[in-house]
């Protein structure tokens, strides 16, 4: 399995990166490979945006595998704070330390309990402190509040974290950072400025066919192609939740399991519920496919 190690990475071309990602089962289009390449060269985070299920998170995972690096993931949610994202003092351990040695001078204890052994690292700090370079995935950044975003700015531009009691911790190795967003809210200008922007849309018919064939190798090529065309057609309908790539993969597996070899009206109608998540969408698409 071809891996791009740090040494090889500095001389890699966008084509090499595409090949390495491909070897991990992730099919990048040219733009994705180009942006990953630039991110590495410019030492900049990538902000990946796009509809749900087009493989934003997958990209980070494949990248970590291709580079042979550890993946550190920070899943964002409403209410995420410093203590969960960056670091926290280990109160219990500190308390034990204080109780264990009640005669000691306070200044001595203070120095001791605010040192690294009492620090609980959370994903961001962990990514920075790792000796081997890692891939840091900050998933669904649009879920945290605007104010929490500011937490990330120091890391994203300077790869460092300031802890009041310890001072500034600089990155030992530069992590490769991937942020994903479903665009449920506008991200701050400050954050966007620090990142390279990559929008991943639904794949073209050709690329989706390729994805289907890679991820579900038993699929006959002709079936894969007509499936991608049907999916593209369904996505053009005004529906609540257009099928994502992961849903077309599910569909492929379903069709295989049912032993369908050629797509016809019946086969599609019987399996529409795999592609579509809402009954109203299923009805709408079925009516439209029947040529209402």
């Amino acid at each position: 399995m071809p891996l791009l190690h740090s040494a090889a990475m500095t001389s890699a071309t966008p084509g090499d990166i595409a090949d390495a990602l491909r070897a991990q089962g992730y099919l990048p289009d040219e733009r994705i490979a180009q942006v990953v390449f630039l991110a590495e060269r410019l030492d900049k985070p990538i902000l990946v945006e796009g509809p749900a299920g087009v493989g934003k998170t997958e990209l980070a995972k494949a990248l970590a595998a291709a580079l042979g690096r550890r993946l550190i993931r920070l899943q964002c949610y409403e209410g995420l704070d410093e203590a969960k994202a960056l670091y926290e003092w280990n109160y219990r351990k500190q308390l034990l330390r204080i109780q264990a040695d009640e005669q000691a001078a306070w200044s001595e204890i203070e120095e001791d309990i605010f040192s690294e052994p009492f620090l609980l690292t959370r994903p961001l700090l962990e990514a920075i402190r790792s000796v081997d370079p890692v891939v840091l995935l900050i998933d669904e950044i649009d879920r945290v509040e605007m104010e929490t975003e500011a937490l990330l700015l120091e890391i994203l531009s300077d790869f460092q974290v300031s802890i009041p009691e310890l001072g500034t911790i600089k990155a030992v190795s530069r992590p490769m950072v991937v942020l994903t967003s479903n665009n449920t809210r506008e991200l701050s200008e400050a954050l966007k400025r620090r990142c390279l922007f990559l929008h991943i849309a639904y794949p073209t018919i050709e690329r989706e066919t390729e994805i289907l064939l890679t991820r579900v190798p038993e699929l006959p090529e002709s079936l894969a192609e007509s499936m991608s065309r049907v999916v593209a057609s369904i996505r053009s309908e005004p529906i609540r939740k257009p099928p994502s790539v992961s849903e077309s993969l599910d569909w492929a597996r379903t069709l295989l399991a049912l032993g369908v070899e050629r797509l016809d009206d019946d086969a599609v109608n019987d399996t529409l519920h795999v592609l579509l998540k809402y009954q109203s969408d299923v009805e709408k698409v079925a009516a439209s496919l029947a040529g209402d």
Partner: protein, 482 residues
Amino acid sequence: MLGILTGFVEELREVGIPVSMVETIDAARALEHVDLGSRSGLKAALGSTLVKNARHHRAFEAAFEVFFSLTGPVAGSDEMEARREAAMALLSGFRGGGGGGGGDSEDASDLVAALLRSLRDRDEPLLQAVVRTAVDRLAGIEPGRPVGGAYYMYRVMRRLQIDDVEQELLNALLDVDAPSLERRLVVEEVQRRLEQVREMVRSEIRARLVADRGPRAVARTLRRPLVEDVDLSAATRDELVEVERVIHPLSRRLATRLSQRRRRGARGRLDVRRTMRAALSTGGVPADPRFRRPRPGKPEIVLLCDISGSVATFARFTMQIVYGIAAQFSRVRSYAFIDSIDEVTGFFGPGVDFAEAMRRIGTEAEVVWLDGHSDYGNAFGRFRDAFLDEAVTSRSTVIVTGDARSNYHDPNAAALRAIARRARSLFWLNPEPNRYWDTGDSLMGVYAPWCDAVYEVRSIRQLERFVERAAVPTVRPQRPLA
């Protein structure tokens, strides 16, 4: 290269895409790493460093085409001649018996035949040759004219008889007995290929224009407002289509924001039980206080929309928002009014077709009482009497959309006050420019004191501003007691 880059950035800014200094520097740094001969590399480098919003991508692409990819061979150069000859060779087979050569022929039957063949057989080189020759022979480009090329485009497509080509292509590829799915896929495939032809012709024409007048001049004539800057009351049909595409995610965002009830900041009350439990592990010292998390409320949104003729385009747009919100959240009540008001919630909902909903509002809802001219006073009064108690609670956000032009009827501000008193907050979105408020029969100034805020909303950008602000917990303004 740096010269072109600054020109390009200036063009982006002219269009309305915000590009900061830092981003320009990033772009310049990125350019050091890409192969400048590779279009896609160049595009990725500039796109990812300069444009940070997917919605701006189309405008970026248009500007990119003009500035970067189209420095094609100059007319009359050796390379141009070579290209022309290659195209001629490919096309020679299609020329009828005594068909004229050269570039003067009005008759394009050879090109039409070649186009059809290339599309049917997916013959890419032949298609290229057809497009180039067609633009040479049929566009009749006049050097120096400050045009964007739409007319040339029209001329080429008409002479290529593009509609006939589409029909013939369908005839050739479509099997009438095939099942409907199959037929549908073929039709879509044909449309895709024709769209590709249009795109190729368009960019070929642009290349000629750029070679003639330089990128900046051409970019200027091609400039279109960004989706978010389109004036909603004067939008063209194409612009509306684009607006409607971005409305959907935006209305979802609006609903989400309205539902985020002061979650941030306030951590909720101390949870004594869980704090005590946690304190056990620290020897009884409550070192780690636990809090109850305030639960986010479900959005309760009540929309009152003026759908009278004077705000017709805007009403369609606000209905789109209603539609978008209703598809995502169930706790939305919507009401339409002209001089009376009626509930239209039932016409929307998950999976309902927008056109169908609009039709039903037009025919079934009782929004007209007397003469079908807006009467805000009566509409608010009726709402207060008929719907207020059941629809609005202290958790509801009420949004009124309309121009507040009430044809000199009684404003009935007391009714709006009653609505505002009962609701958590009341916002008013007015599609008229701020400076026209309170002129003529506009009652904006009369109603404004009862609203938490009044926003001018004439574009997506302004709507977004409202969405961003609406969620910020506001201290309700002191209301006059009258």
